[in-house]
């Protein structure tokens, strides 16, 4: 269980060095992406002008405040509260996000499924579990909203955040077939019969 501090972007080798239960803290650029962003990019053929090669995305739609373009708010938005949403709904987009845009890290809560695990294995990537619902804390790790694209989808725009000390986050899916989510789910299902028996349920 090692800890890594990354200045984004990272290389394939850096992504492949990570193993389940390692921890990672991010610095620099982090992209925010969400259901509608994915749908428009991959089902409706829209492209982003952002270079996401080697970068990390987080499953989010932030609370922001329009304050106008200033030095501190170059795209006009100030962060209010930035947190993380459940990843599972966006499972089917992981491979395309990696193969078309070169993304190496997906950050979310609740984990992704077998398809994403395969994409991490084939293309060299990881999933980092953040603590969902801890958005007040997460917001303190965001220095600035540097830029925004596809903003007609607001709040589900493609956000470009600048972060500092973003973490530590837990590697819960790696490029070696490891998934803490699968492991915990399997072990919980293995306890189903005993739990029902303790409740007096006749199976």
């Amino acid at each position: 269980m090692a800890h890594y501090d990354f200045n984004m972007p990272i290389t394939e080798a850096q992504a492949r060095a990570l193993r389940v239960n390692d921890t990672v803290t991010l610095n620099g650029t982090l992209f925010g992406i969400r259901d509608a962003t994915y749908i428009h990019m991959f089902d409706r053929g829209r492209r982003t002008r952002f270079d996401m090669n080697g970068h990390a995305v987080i499953h989010t739609a932030p609370n922001v405040k329009w304050v106008g373009e200033t030095r501190a708010t170059p795209c006009g938005y100030a962060p209010v509260c930035i947190g993380t949403t459940t990843s599972d709904r966006m499972e089917r987009f992981t491979r395309q996000l990696m193969s078309e845009y070169g993304v190496r890290i997906v950050i979310g809560k609740g984990g992704l499924r077998e398809g994403s695990l395969g994409a991490f294995r084939d293309l060299g990537g990881v999933y980092l579990a953040i603590v969902g619902g801890a958005a007040a804390l997460e917001t303190t790790w965001v220095e600035q909203i540097e830029d925004v694209d596809l903003d007609d989808l607001n709040p589900e725009s493609l956000w470009k955040f600048r972060v500092k000390g973003f973490g530590p986050l837990l590697v819960s899916m790696d490029s070696h077939g490891g998934s803490l989510h699968t492991q915990v789910n399997q072990s919980a299902r293995d306890r189903r019969a005993a739990t029902l028996a303790a409740l007096g349920v006749k199976i």
Partner: protein, 291 residues
């Protein structure tokens, strides 16, 4: 008592913001209890981050979670309270919209087909407004619940049959907790509706999921189910965020209604660990805020 609708609008704005920022004391105590009992290292670390987040939200006057949810207002009208029901609903919606624009908050509400977001947290039949009546003389109470989607997406109804008995209810609850895994942002309050019609059963599961910790079903059979299931779901090892541990749920809550001789419905609605709610109480003395 005559209710001032301007005061209701202001309160409904204030309630949305308060609910998003201040976690009720019973939930904070629930966290302390789970933290004391958690034996898994990852589970313990995750709970620690959640508890730290509650403090950071208070210190920075920020929202606990970015999910502003679907706004729900539960109105309880006491005896002798005079109010125009239609205007009351309009005042609630105005307060909800003003909170969204003036704070500002992320509007999480869209048209279900076009997915268009009006950036008001309002839309057709939203905010959800439930109205009920109470014997309390001269008291109007409005409870606000911002219901997050991570937990709301984990909602189920099963129209079991009488021959399936109570075993069907117990099995269904355990299976829902397994299906939800980490998607529902555990530790959760598992809300269980038992009986009624299909829609009443689902409504009861929401009432159960959003009830304060430490309260119990006022039907003895329901209270017994709560005790049994609360222990059982924490044997599964799903843990905080579904990353493993003892703290899968704060509690299982049950609400009941009589049902048909041919029916045995059970519904489950989950409340995530950010179990937010706020309450405004109106009397002739004015308005007071609490949980």
């Amino acid at each position: 008592m005559k209710v001032d609708l301007k005061q209701v609008e202001e309160a409904c704005k204030e309630l949305y913001i308060r609910a998003l920022k201040l976690l009720p004391p019973d939930i904070k105590q629930g966290f302390e209890r789970l933290d004391r009992g958690e034996t898994d290292a990852t589970g313990k670390a995750v709970l620690g981050t959640m508890i730290r987040n509650i403090r950071v939200a208070e210190e920075t006057n920020n929202l606990l979670c970015q999910d502003t949810g679907i706004p729900i207002y539960n109105v309880l009208i006491g005896a002798g309270v005079e109010i125009d029901g239609y205007q009351l609903k309009q005042a609630i919606a105005r307060g909800c919209e003003r909170a969204t624009r003036e704070h500002p908050l992320r509007s999480s509400v869209v048209h279900p087909v076009t997915r268009k977001n009006e950036h008001t947290s309002c839309g057709r039949a939203v905010p959800v407004i439930n109205v009920d009546f109470a014997p309390d003389a001269g008291v109007l109470s409005i409870e606000m619940i911002p219901k997050g989607s991570g937990s709301e997406n984990n909602s189920w109804l099963k129209m079991a049959v009488p021959a399936d008995g109570i075993d069907a209810i117990k099995t269904f609850v355990v299976d829902c907790v397994l299906d939800a895994g980490g998607k529902t942002c555990p530790p959760t309050i598992v809300g269980v509706g038992v009986g009624g019609t299909a829609d009443l059963c689902v409504h009861l599961s929401k009432v159960a999921a959003t009830r304060p910790l430490g309260t119990h079903c006022d039907d003895p059979e329901g209270a017994r189910l709560e005790a049994e299931l609360s222990g059982a779901v924490n044997q599964l090892g799903v843990g905080p965020q579904g990353l493993g541990g003892d703290s899968t749920s704060f509690a299982v809550h049950v609400e009941m209604a009589a049902t048909h001789i041919t029916m045995n419905p059970v519904a489950v609605n989950m409340q995530c660990h950010s179990a937010r709610r706020a309450r405004a109480t109106f009397t002739t003395q004015g308005v007071t805020y609490g949980f």
